[in-house]
Every structure is written in C-alpha cells, then in structure tokens.
C-alpha cells in the first residue's frame, strides 16, 4: 500500500537531455531561418522546435507531482483551480476591454508570453493561498 508515489529513476535526466538537445536545435533553426536557408515547408515545422522544451518541462512537472504526498497533490490541484480561473478571467476581461478600446488590442501571436506570465503568477498566488489553508 503506497502512501506516496515514487519518482521514476533516470526520468529527470532524460528530460534534461531532451531540453538541451531541443534548445540546441532551436538555436540552429533560428540561425538557418535568419539566413533564409530553410525551404518554406520545413520552416513552418521548424518554428515549432522551441515547443519541445516546454513539453519536456510539463512532463517533468507531472512526474514531480506524482512524487508528492497526498496533501501536497491536493494543494497543487487547488492551486491549479486558482491558476485556471485567474488566467481565464484575466484573459476574458482583457479581451472585453480591448474590444471596447480601453486597452491596446494585442494580437494572439504577441500576447502568449504574457499569458505564460499570468499562468505562473496565478499558480504562485494559488499555492500561497492554499498552503495557508492547510498550515
């Protein structure tokens, strides 16, 4: 009867290796794109290379969550609810204000970095609030 899940051995190193390889690939792709050395079809696929470290990060995050004890997992679940709600409400409110002309209308291709910031800020807020509840 396992109370806490155990982390798979070697998993973080595999992810770190994957992240390093994809970071190197991203650099090569960026240089090739700058010099216009990539065929049009390949370039479209190549722009997605920087997404690979992100996938590796979330796989690592999921593994880390599985290694936590049951209360920690509950805390993170509740923090994710805060994150999901906070980010969703913020994005919706900003969109409504942008349509009304109250704030600059940022295109989605430029807005996503801010969305990541909001996701991590709301996650941190959620963690702080929920941890306090179980202290």
């Amino acid at each position: 009867m396992a109370v806490t899940a155990k982390r798979r051995s070697g998993h973080p190193y595999r992810l770190l290796w994957l992240a390093m390889v994809s970071a190197g690939l991203s650099l090569v792709v960026a240089l090739l794109r700058r010099e216009h050395l990539l065929p049009a079809g390949v370039e479209t696929v190549a722009v997605l290379v920087p997404v690979i470290p992100l996938v590796a990060f979330f796989l690592g995050f999921a593994g880390w969550i599985r290694g936590l004890d049951e209360l920690e997992r509950l805390i993170h679940l509740e923090a994710l609810v805060v994150q999901f709600g906070g980010t969703g409400i913020l994005a919706m409110a900003y969109g409504a204000l942008a349509r009304a002309g109250a704030v600059p209308d940022v295109p989605a291709s430029h807005a996503y970095p801010f969305l990541w910031v909001a996701i991590f800020v709301f996650w941190a807020i959620g963690l702080a609030v929920v941890r306090r509840k179980y202290r």
Binding site: M1, A2, V3, L71, E72, L74, Y134
Partner: protein, 75 residues
C-alpha cells in the same frame, strides 16, 4: 473527523517530522491531520494505524459532519 494523532505521537516522544518520515509524507501533512484541517486517505490512515499499532477506530472517530460533508479543508 477527529483523531488522537497528536496524543499518540506525544506518548512516543516523536516530533511531527519523525512521524512524517515513518509515514512517508511531509511534516505539513502530519500537522494538517493533527489540527483536523485534512482527513487522510484510507491508505494513509491504515499506515498511521500500523505505525502506532492501533486500530483505525482507536485513532480516528467521526465528527459531527454528515458523510457528504467531510470534504478536506472545509472548516
């Protein structure tokens, strides 16, 4: 749900961290159970019973809440 975790731990002279280590959970989890802020899962409750050599009903007893109201963190 009420429990005698703090009393049982004190009689053995264990700190929360020591009990947490025996149970394979964090000290925060032990503290949250002792203060009644968190009700452990059945596997963890059995692990607690095993560590203290007591039956579950000797450690935990139902509170005033109805079965559907025993959600964690609702205090």
């Amino acid at each position: 749900m009420r429990n005698r975790l703090r009393l049982l731990r004190a009689t053995r002279g264990w700190s929360q961290a020591q009990l947490a280590e025996r149970l394979g959970v964090s000290r925060q989890t032990v503290n949250a159970i002792e203060t009644g802020k968190y009700d452990p899962s059945l596997p963890l409750a059995f692990a607690i019973g095993r560590v203290f050599g007591e039956a579950l009903e000797a450690i935990f007893e139902p509170g005033d809440e109805a079965p559907g109201d025993s959600e964690n963190g609702r205090r």
